[in-house]
């Protein structure tokens, strides 16, 4: 059993609160990605789970054991560091075997286990080398091997791919995901890369300024962002967010702003409400002028190869549109952008939290 539970976990550095009252329940076998911008507290949180940093407040369980005050060597977790932290004076074989050596396993057993792990990671020919004689990708695999060798209760990974080049990163990403599919070991993975989070996670915990912003599957976080922060952090280009007012006209709700008119497809009659309206670039479509939508002027067209992104200006707000190439617009052109009502996201103007429509049970007219 290697379920990890966090309860009110807090870490303060002087006046700065790096992690604030964090509660998480990570199920056995889950691949949880801690995602967030730098300084959001995700690495601090991971180091607290590893035991490298004592929490200021809160409790931590691994399985049924309270590990809050247990030193790292007595927690059953393995960690892959961003710097890999391969012991520079030891060979690859000794690096991978290190966790077994600390457990005083017989030499023959260590050798056999190291050989087995090296074979799965394609490191067999490199066992006698020192870390400095390895390439970045090989070092990364040795770091993984050192974590794998002892069948830990959980893997903790601190941005393990950030030192690799783009091509190697994609390959290693797939390898780690495959490894997790095979071993089913609980994994907590820290990254600031939304592609890693979207492709690998069973659930994403999105962190902002030490607090949990949203917790959910990659689709939930992408399709129904819980806040403006979540909406703009995931997705490239970021979600367009504009200030608008929800108004009821002829019994139908619509979002209005200067040069903007989009139907929300909800039949209701409510007083005007200011909101922040969000729509992803790939959900905006170009419609003939004169139709309702967002009136904008194209300022630039970016070619991404398979797709194009049109950067537009709608009033004072920048809006981007993403679609298959060619989009058929040129810089300086006036366009109208439309979006399906179910693709629109509404957020509260003050708190930035997501607004969901809840139909009131209307009493039947008698």
């Amino acid at each position: 059993m290697s379920r990890i539970r966090l309860q009110g976990l807090t870490r303060r550095f002087g006046a700065v609160t790096a992690v604030d009252d964090m509660g998480l329940d990570i199920a056995d076998g889950e691949f949880l990605v801690l995602l967030g911008p730098s300084g959001c507290g995700k690495s601090t949180l991971l180091r607290m789970i590893a035991g490298l940093l004592p929490p200021t407040e809160g409790r931590l369980w691994l399985g049924d054991t309270d590990i809050t005050h247990l030193p790292p060597q007595r927690r059953d977790v393995a960690m892959v560091f961003q710097s890999y932290a391969l012991y520079p004076h030891l060979s690859v074989a000794s690096n991978i075997g290190f966790p077994l050596r600390t457990r005083k396993r017989p030499r023959a057993e260590i050798r056999a286990k190291v050989a087995e792990v090296a074979a799965t990671l394609d490191l067999t020919g490199l066992l006698d080398r020192k870390p400095r004689e390895l390439s970045g990708g090989q070092r990364q695999r040795v770091a993984l091997g050192r974590a794998l060798v002892r069948d830990p209760g959980a893997f903790l990974m601190d941005e393990p791919l950030s030192n690799l080049d783009a091509k190697l990163r994609a390959g290693t990403r797939a390898e780690i995901a495959e490894l997790h599919r095979r071993l089913r070991t609980t994994t907590v993975y820290v990254t600031h890369d939304q592609v890693e989070a979207m492709t690998m996670a069973t659930r994403i915990a999105l962190l902002n300024e030490g607090r949990l912003e949203q917790l959910g599957t990659p689709s939930e976080v992408y399709d129904a962002p819980a806040s403006v922060f979540a909406a703009t952090f995931l997705g490239s280009p970021a979600m367009n967010v504009v200030d608008a007012t929800v108004r009821s006209v002829d019994g139908v709700l619509r979002a209005e702003a200067e040069g903007l008119l989009l139907s929300l497809g909800i039949e209701a009659d409510i007083p005007d409400r200011p909101v922040r309206l969000g729509v992803r670039p790939e959900h905006l479509t170009l419609t003939p002028a004169g139709k309702q939508g967002i009136r904008a002027v194209v300022t630039a067209v970016e070619n991404l190869g398979s797709e194009e992104v049109a950067q537009c200006r709608a009033g004072h707000t920048a809006v981007s549109v993403r679609g298959p190439r060619p989009l058929g617009v040129t810089s300086g052109e006036a366009v109208t952008l439309a979006a399906r009502p179910d693709r629109l996201h509404l957020f509260d103007q003050n708190s930035g939290r997501r607004l969901a429509w809840q139909a009131a049970s209307v009493p039947e007219p008698v």
Partner: protein
């Protein structure tokens, strides 16, 4: 029927982008502008090189020359060329062998003060946090700031056979500095007290240079605190320790000099006369400049060999931490 043919797309022409046709001939640089371009780095080096030559290389060369003459340091006395005579005389004296052995004893006696104690102190003070850490380190470093001769005077008083604090604390009545068996050890302990702070500072800097991720990784890998120290920290500290060992071997005898000269003058019965003190005695007590120069040359060559061996060992120990 429309017919056609496939035409291969040409690779981009190489020089088109630069806008030049063909290769341009390299322009010739005049001799003067070449000098003006290359001279500045050497001009910057000149002051340092001049100082090195005047204060180090020239005296070194003069020592070599002097070692082949017999001279008593009196300017009016002529210098007599004796060839290798000084070397023959030097190697024939039994004093030399004894001085070499005493130097070895001093070096071995100093190693605990320059390596063992500093490592222990640095590892322990690392656990102390905040202001107390600075206080501890300052206390350990303080003896380094005391002038050796001033320190020697205080130690002479502490080691006084009748009223000294050391004898009173230990309940003994040993004449520390005037007994052949204890004088050498007294000198070693006082020198050690003097340099231990510096060594602690070096070890602390070495520890600070080790990426803390290694210790963190080892802890997560299951290593206890003592295992982290033995298997990770000390091996990574080995280049620093090799440096300290090198310093000890090359400089111990020099560090002892002011203390020997103040406290024992090489005695009693030459028990504290190491290589440097012997050399100084030849030159400035016996006024035998040629013999002293010959001794200087021999020590110089000997220490070069030792230093070369030790630096090679240190290079082997260093791990490129990246």
């Amino acid at each position: 029927m429309v017919s056609g043919t496939f035409v291969e797309v040409a690779a981009p022409a190489r020089n088109r982008e630069a806008g030049t046709a063909g290769t341009a001939p390299a322009s010739r640089e005049s001799g003067w502008s070449r000098i003006r371009r290359l001279a500045p780095p050497y001009l910057y080096l000149v002051p340092a090189v001049v100082l090195l030559v005047v204060w180090t290389y020239q005296p070194l060369a003069q020592t070599f020359v002097l070692s082949t003459y017999s001279w008593n340091l009196v300017p009016s006395t002529p210098m007599v060329d004796v060839g290798l005579g000084n070397y023959e005389r030097l190697l024939g004296t039994p004093e030399l062998g004894r001085a070499v052995w005493r130097t070895v004893v001093v070096i071995l006696g100093m190693l605990p003060f320059t390596v063992v104690i500093p490592v222990a102190v640095a590892l322990l003070t690392r656990r102390v946090r905040g202001r107390a850490q600075g206080v501890y380190r300052a206390l350990v470093f303080a003896p380094m700031l005391v002038a050796p001769v001033a320190g020697a005077a205080v130690w002479q008083w502490l080691l006084d056979p009748s009223a000294g604090a050391v004898n009173r604390v230990l309940g003994t009545d040993v004449n520390w500095l005037n007994t052949a068996s204890t004088a050498q050890w007294s000198i070693i302990v006082i020198t050690g007290w003097h340099v231990v702070g510096f060594a602690v500072l070096v070890v602390t800097a070495g520890l600070a240079g080790i990426n803390p991720d290694y210790a963190a990784a080892a802890q997560v890998d299951g290593a206890s605190r003592s295992q982290v120290t033995r298997w990770v920290t000390l091996p990574l500290l080995s280049p620093t320790l090799a440096f300290l060992a090198l310093m000890t071997v090359l400089l111990s005898a020099q560090w002892t000099f002011p203390l020997i000269d103040t406290l024992t003058q090489g005695g009693p019965v030459s028990s504290t006369t190491n290589l440097y003190y012997l050399l100084w005695e030849y030159g400035f007590r016996s006024h035998d400049a040629g013999l002293a120069a010959a001794a200087g040359v021999l020590f110089f060559l000997g220490f070069i060999v030792v230093a070369a061996l030790l630096t090679r060992l240190a290079a082997r120990l260093s791990h490129h931490d990246d």
